[in-house]
Amino acid sequence: MSANFYYGIEVFLNGMMAGVLYSLVALGFVLIFKASGIFNYAQGVMALFAALTLVGFQNGQIPFSHLINAIFGTNIHHFGWHLPALFAIILTLMVMILFAYLVEKYILKHLVNQEPIILFMATIGLAYFMEGFGDLMWGADIKKLDVGLPQGGNTWLEEKTAFLGGPDFYGFYLDNLDIWATAFAGLLVVSLVLFSQYTKTGRALRAVADDHQAALSVGISLRAIWVIVWSIAGFVALVAGIMWGSKSGVQFSLSLIALKALPVLMLGGFTSIPGAIVGGLIIGIGEKMFEFLIGVPFLGGATENWFAYMLALLFLVFRPQGLFGEKIIERV
């Protein structure tokens, strides 16, 4: 076997791990879409905001210090303490739950029964708002996020697999962080499935997803469900934010992962949790392999930006509801 073949396998494995991270973001979309029929464009910005808040808590930054300094002419920036990672994560989670409550109270409540496009627009507005708000609160500079996850390449795997190829092959290079992210994503998915199948709240969530009015009529509070769903989406966003943030630093481009997750949704279907996972894997592997086999040799590279969309687009023409989506039935 040539080294190139093993290199292809390495690309495949890396694509799989990137795919898991995409599905992590896509999962947040699916949860909200199922429960409230809202396509939440702000999911990516939520991940950014969660990561910013986490870094801010960890480093003991004073919120809005930039603004306060500009108005009062003071010069404050840090409280001067460092919180342990776990404590900061719990605090951030509380912020995300508060955020979910506020979104329900001030936005969703007033937009009940509007057309889906209006709700979608509202979440774009929310994305803009949060992006500015996050920057105002914690500053717009690129931050380093470290919650104690191992970084760098996995040397164990590299040494153990080096014998496979010829003298040019040094073993599979996999990022430790990616491996951890995959493990966490898997854990998250399993716990979400268990939660929605075996708890009372989970059953209520599924009832709301099936039929809003029927759920209301058996006494499920829609508003409480929405707060819960947005909180869970906030939690998923936090996990995605930690993973992506540790990988490439906490910065504005983090919010663009939402755009990466959209083709995943199209492929997997907007309403299916397994769809989000499988779709993410297909997109992750597909775009890395396409770049490796066709993009770099023939098209000049950087095909990753659009490949996922094109794949999803072609796929949709043949199966409009996605892989696992509910069949769209129209009645006149």
Partner: protein, 358 residues
């Protein structure tokens, strides 16, 4: 008292079907045009032209285009930035390949090319609807931007990867390039805006517009009464892309002068135009203008207040701008989901009864 139709008797079909049936509206319309043509060019300076007036006119065309697609035909598109890039690069290639070609034809031809590209990307709309379509049009956005970035033929193999507009003139006055006077650029764009808005208004009142609206309201019912969804959707995509392409060509050649595709025609442009359409009002010509004016004027105003009056650092002001734009969009959608056009309609209803509302 002033604004009402009492005593304004229609004696022919033509009069009954005119765009502005109420006399005061008609006079307001003529007055606006007169001011725009006869007064504004003489008082226009560089700052106002570049910061407010030119972008307003150019984005108004794009907003009309997107409004035809979303507001009249009900097909959501997030690819407007990509289509504007097609218009811009088409105009650049035409200008450099055929230096003799009149700039007016260059702009119109760019619109035509964009229309073809738009129809191509509109094909999936026959199979997919709603959000799926919106996300599918994002494919156009990313693919087109990548294409203009990666294929050097589109930017004539220039080292920087930028395109810059050569000087072209109309009736002896420079329209594009560094020597163009603000008033000439303004009048050039105004001409396009006037003709295109007039055409769009009449198109949406005619057979095509009615077909689009039938598709928007319920596609299956429309098909049953004999509207061909293939034709209706593709014409909507074509016409809409034509408008957006012309706007892109004008944005590049007249307003920016030089452009780099990822920066000038990124996804933010798609959202900007979408915001204009939604805030202005879906399915309304007036709304397209109002939305464009709102989205162009508000950042200028905010910047003037925060940086100019309160001496804040510019980065802080730009963060605040995000917060305010986002907040305003949410508030707008909650208070009046049908946009500025609906507010204007309500005001007119009130005015007709004023001062005796009962």
């Amino acid at each position: 008292m002033l604004y009402r139709e009492a005593g304004d008797f229609k004696t022919s079909y033509a009069k009954d079907q005119q765009t502005f049936p109420i006399a005061l509206d008609r006079w307001g319309y003529f007055l606006t045009i007169a001011v725009a043509v006869l007064v504004v060019p003489f008082i226009l300076n560089d700052y106002w032209s570049n910061a407010v007036v030119l972008p307003f006119l150019i984005y108004a065309i794009a907003a009309i285009g997107l409004n035809i697609l979303i507001g009249y035909c009900g097909q959501v598109s997030l690819g407007s930035g990509g289509f504007m890039a097609v218009g811009a690069y088409a105009s650049y290639k035409l200008m450099t390949a055929f230096p003799e070609l009149n700039i007016v034809f260059v702009v119109i031809l760019s619109g035509g090319i964009t229309a073809l590209v738009g129809m191509l990307f509109g094909l999936p709309s026959l199979r997919i609807k709603g959000f799926y379509l919106a996300v599918a049009t994002l494919a156009a956005q990313f693919f087109l931007v990548w294409l203009f970035n990666k294929v050097p033929w589109f930017y004539n193999y220039s080292a920087s990867g930028q395109i810059s507009a050569p000087e072209r003139s109309l009736f002896g006055f420079a329209v594009t390039g560094a020597n163009a006077h603000p008033a000439t650029s303004y009048l050039f764009c105004l001409g396009f805006v006037f003709v295109m808005a007039w055409a769009a208004r009449n198109m949406t009142r005619g057979a095509n517009g009615r077909k689009w609206m039938a598709i928007r309201d319920m596609d299956i019912a429309a098909e049953i009464i004999g509207v061909d969804p293939l034709k209706a959707k593709l014409t909507a995509f074509g016409v809409s892309s034509f408008y957006i392409g012309i706007s892109g060509a004008l944005l590049f050649s007249v307003y920016l002068g030089a452009a780099e595709v990822g920066e000038a025609f990124g996804i933010e442009k798609s959202f900007l135009i979408l915001f204009m359409v939604i805030i202005g009002g879906l399915g309304s010509m007036f709304g397209s203008f109002a939305g464009a004016a709102f989205m162009i004027l508000m950042p200028v105003l905010l910047k003037n207040i925060m940086v100019g009056q309160m001496d804040w650092p510019t980065d802080l002001a730009s963060h605040f701008q995000f917060v305010i734009v986002g907040g305003l969009i949410i508030i707008f959608l909650i208070v009046e989901p049908h946009g500025l056009a609906q507010l204007w309609r309500l005001t007119k209803e009130k005015l007709r009864l004023w001062p005796f509302p009962h």
